[in-house]
């Protein structure tokens, strides 16, 4: 399907320490951070990763749609990350050079992202769909994308989205997760809108060396030009940092009747150990 309509797609995606690593919060010189933060492998926030797949699909389905990736992170880490992402799909990078440890006020991050978006040459906000993650692996409060939308004046916001289907008139249908495993389908007249993606339904994009080479010609200069942003915000401080308490206790029991499992869970909840 090819639709004669153009969107301006902006993906907000920060670099985060790979959440599969053992991340240990520490306070150094009065500031919170992660132990050995500089050594930790960084990835595109996994909650954002899917946005890239969706943006690639939407571009294919529409006419002249361009994709911009606005990424916050330390320059060196952005560069490493782009070597992988650049092979996925064509995009213009807008790099914001700032820490990525995750102990930053989401209002401040949202302000930096909104400023970077407004500064994208040729971007028409009325045609813009802001993509991002429903949540974040950066220990943020999960509110950043919503705040970006507010700062851009975009009031149509959808979170936990699994599917976006464009229509010929520039409108689109959004399938949004709601409680109890159900979806809410919404018909939207058109851009602008903020789309916070859940996991979606698309497979991972393959790595394509040709796309990578084309992308890198634009990406390296973009990283070189990345504006250093001080994300410290007045009145915001981290009082304490700690690893989440371990909640999981795995026990393998075979052939246990469902009633006995339920009784044990009931007893566990009643004991208050469930927290």
């Amino acid at each position: 399907m090819s639709i004669d309509h153009t969107y301006h797609l902006v993906i907000c995606g920060s670099v985060v320490p790979d959440p599969l690593q053992s991340l240990e919060p520490v306070v150094t010189q009065g500031k919170p951070g992660l132990k050995n933060e500089l050594m930790l492998p960084m990835v595109l926030d996994p909650f954002v990763n899917h946005s890239l797949n969706e943006a690639a699909k939407l571009r294919e389905a529409t006419k002249d749609t361009q994709v911009h990736l606005v990424a916050v992170g330390p320059k060196a880490k952005l560069q490493q990350l782009m070597m992988v992402l650049a092979q996925k799909t064509a995009f213009n990078l807008v790099a914001v050079d700032a820490p990525a440890g995750g102990f930053i006020d989401s209002h401040t991050v949202a302000a930096a992202l909104a400023e970077a978006i407004k500064a994208i040459p040729g971007l028409d906000l009325q045609k813009t769909l802001v993509f991002g993650g429903w949540s974040s692996a950066s220990r943020a409060s999960g509110t950043t994308l919503q705040l970006v939308g507010e700062k851009l004046g975009i009031t149509e916001q959808f979170f936990g989205v699994d599917r976006l289907t464009p229509a010929a008139d520039g409108g689109f249908t959004v399938l949004e997760r709601v409680e109890a495993g159900q979806h809410l389908e919404t018909q939207v007249a058109g851009a602008p809108a903020v789309i916070g993606w859940a996991t979606g339904e698309l497979p991972e994009l393959p790595n394509n060396p040709k796309i990578g080479m084309m992308n890198m010609a634009k990406i390296m200069p973009a990283i070189g030009k990345a504006k250093a942003v001080d994300l410290a915000s007045a009145g915001f401080s981290v009082v304490d940092t700690a690893l989440p308490a371990e909640k999981r206790q795995t026990r393998v029991v075979k052939d246990m009747p469902a009633a006995a499992v339920a009784a044990e869970i009931k007893e566990w909840i009643a004991s208050g150990k469930a927290g």
Binding site: D18, Q21, M83, P203, P209
Partner: protein
């Protein structure tokens, strides 16, 4: 292995590089500098696109450029000559070497399988007042790395890659595996990338994208000792006469956060010998910020098929001499890799029409000084100089031209001098631990003139039957019963044999002593990218069926190869594979007869490896 009938995209570049490690780091660093330097005096032109600068692309199968999982102690002569102002503080986990010592570890549990003379040494040392260890009064001079550095190879690789990418003269693409060579008669004309969107058997599935053909004037192969492209070249060309790839070791290590009261100074290097088995050597490098890289080498000349590197690593770590330093600390990362220990004996055909080889897979490791990273870097630099010379003079990358330039400079180089001296230094180990130590000392002190000779043997020929190996410790009938139980119920032989020999139970404490599977997840993750085929294949099921000991299962660094109840062919789980490649040379059967590494296991080029925070 890729389907030849599928229509593929192709792309032309000038230089295609396979694998990003220290050798490729050296090559790309000096090539990039040379290309940049020439811009002022008249740019070097691309042979494929005259008028444009040469296109140089490096493909690395790991998801990032920190695949190296080695704690490294190196003189770093070549690296320092490339970076005269090198400051270790600019690379995480890196520092100058300050102290080096070699320590003999006595056997605290009496479980080690020591030859008689070594067994006698322990009580004599105890009579002399030594409780658990004996520090050699002099560290052998050939082991010294004076003025060198301790580093984590993954961190070093990332540092090098960052600089290269910032310069922009070359491109490095991680998470992109090379599956095959492109050949026209005897010339290498490029590489084929791995198919994506396939199932575990390699059949097209959702999102199928055939691997692209990258046509190149020169293919630089630096994919390490077990790299699939290096091994394909060996298969195609064979090894030069008298050369072989028969000496190996698996190096396995932990990165440990040392306790605050650990007295060891940053920059301390400790080599250990004698324990947990005499054949197993150990290393302990003290890095900045109270971190240490500590591990063991399990060699292919260790004759038992029961080579569990992980459990031996835990025994070694618990030796009282080492435990005093780490007690109260915490393991933060784990890794393993194969080391090609044939040195110059394992030097393959270095060049041919359209290709050149660098690094460990090209026989650069000095097996006497235990040094490989710096030599690998130096080999890359030599190739870069040769390539620049040929590009500037407009000469093609033929065997003859690469011979005249790269190979000639390798022959004149310090790598060649060092590896020639080291050539037979480890031969004695094929006769056993003591002849090996004597041979190494002789070679070390005479510059390689004297050594203990022995007959060369393929790795699987070094393995001996369990009954013979444990003949004085466990009755043959009992061993056979253990084997039968493993065949029926799965599991490993080491789990049964080591406790029977007196090795204590490892009591997990969640800090220093953790399960093997926890180690894979702690501080890292195994990359098993979706959409690629399985990379470990058992070529001939009949050979597996006939194999009693399943040494591939015993040696596997990630428990990725496992016996399955009632099945003669082991199962492979790529979610656990750290891509160390020990299964290739650790295969007890051999299989393909005339190849450089005679193995029943095929190890294909697929993205993956251990992705670790501190490697």
């Amino acid at each position: 292995m890729s389907d030849t009938s599928v229509e593929r995209q192709s792309m032309e570049v000038d230089i295609a590089c396979v694998g990003f490690g220290p050798a490729m780091g050296g090559f790309l660093t000096h090539l990039s500098r040379g290309l940049k330097a020439a811009e002022a005096s008249g740019p070097i032109q691309s042979p494929t696109m005259p008028g444009a600068p040469p296109t140089v692309i490096c493909y690395e199968k790991a998801e990032d450029l920190a695949l190296g999982v080695s704690g490294v102690e190196t003189e770093a002569k070549a690296i320092k000559s490339s970076f005269p102002d090198f400051d270790p503080a600019s690379v995480p986990m890196t520092t100058w070497i300050k102290k080096e010592k070699t320590v003999y570890l006595m056997d605290p549990w009496g479980a080690s399988r020591r030859p008689l003379l070594v067994r006698l040494a322990d009580p004599i040392l105890r009579l002399l007042g030594k409780k658990h260890s004996f520090t050699l009064p002099v560290n052998p001079p050939f082991l010294h790395k004076k003025g060198g550095i301790i580093t984590a190879l993954g961190q070093f690789n990332q540092w090098v890659a960052g600089q290269l990418m910032a310069e922009g003269a070359v491109q490095i693409w991680p998470s992109m595996a090379v599956e095959d060579l492109l050949l026209e008669k005897d010339a290498v004309t490029g590489v084929r990338l791995a198919d994506q969107g396939v199932d575990k058997e390699g059949k097209p599935a959702e999102g199928f994208m055939p691997g692209m053909d990258i046509k190149a004037k020169l293919t630089v192969v630096g994919d390490g000792p077990i790299g699939s492209i290096g091994r394909k070249l060996n298969e195609k060309l064979g090894m030069p006469e008298g050369r072989h790839l028969w000496e190996w070791a698996v190096g396995m290590k932990f990165v440990v956060s040392l306790p605050d009261d650990c007295p060891l100074e940053e920059g301390t290097v400790i080599h250990t010998i004698g324990f947990p088995e005499p054949e197993i050597f150990g290393f302990f490098y003290v890095m900045p910020n109270k971190m240490a890289s500590m591990g063991i080498f399990v060699p292919s000349w260790m004759q038992t098929p029961v080579r569990t590197s992980y459990r031996y690593l835990q025994y070694w770590m618990q030796h009282p001499y080492l435990w005093q330093y780490v007690k109260g600390g915490k393991v933060s990362s784990f890794g393993a890799k194969s080391l090609l220990e044939s040195g110059i004996e394992g030097e393959p055909h270095l060049v041919g029409d359209g290709f050149a080889r660098i690094g460990e897979g090209s026989g650069t490791t000095n097996i006497l000084t235990n040094s490989g990273v710096d030599e690998a870097w130096a080999s890359g630099r030599l190739l870069a100089d040769a390539v620049l010379e040929l590009l500037k003079s407009g000469q093609p990358f033929t065997r003859e031209n690469l011979d005249k330039t790269y190979v000639a400079s390798r022959r004149r180089s310090a790598i060649e001098k060092g590896t020639r001296k080291a050539r037979h230094s480890r031969d004695g180990f094929r006769r056993g631990f003591l002849p090996g130590m004597v041979g190494m000392a002789l070679a070390g002190f005479t510059g390689g003139l004297l050594y203990v000779p022995s007959r060369e043997k393929a790795p699987h020929d070094m393995l001996i039957d369990l009954e013979r190996y444990y003949r004085d410790r466990i009755p043959a009938a009992e061993l056979r019963a253990m084997e039968a139980e493993c065949l029926q119920k799965g599991g490993t032989l080491w789990e049964k044999i080591l406790p029977r020999l007196g090795w204590p139970e490892v009591v997990f404490d969640g800090a220093l002593l953790i399960s093997h599977q926890d180690a894979l997840l702690l501080g890292g993750k195994v990359q098993a990218v979706h959409g690629y085929r399985d990379h470990v294949l058992f070529d001939d099921p009949a050979a597996c069926e006939a194999c009693r000991t399943k040494s591939c299962v015993e040696i596997c660094s990630g428990q990725a190869i496992a016996r399955v109840e009632g099945r003669p062919v082991p199962a492979f789980d790529r979610e656990k594979c750290v891509h160390c490649g020990a299964c290739i040379w650790g295969c007890a059967r051999g299989g393909r007869g005339d190849l450089a590494i005679d193995s029943n296991i095929a190890f294909l080029g697929v993205p993956g490896g251990l992705h670790s925070a501190e490697n």
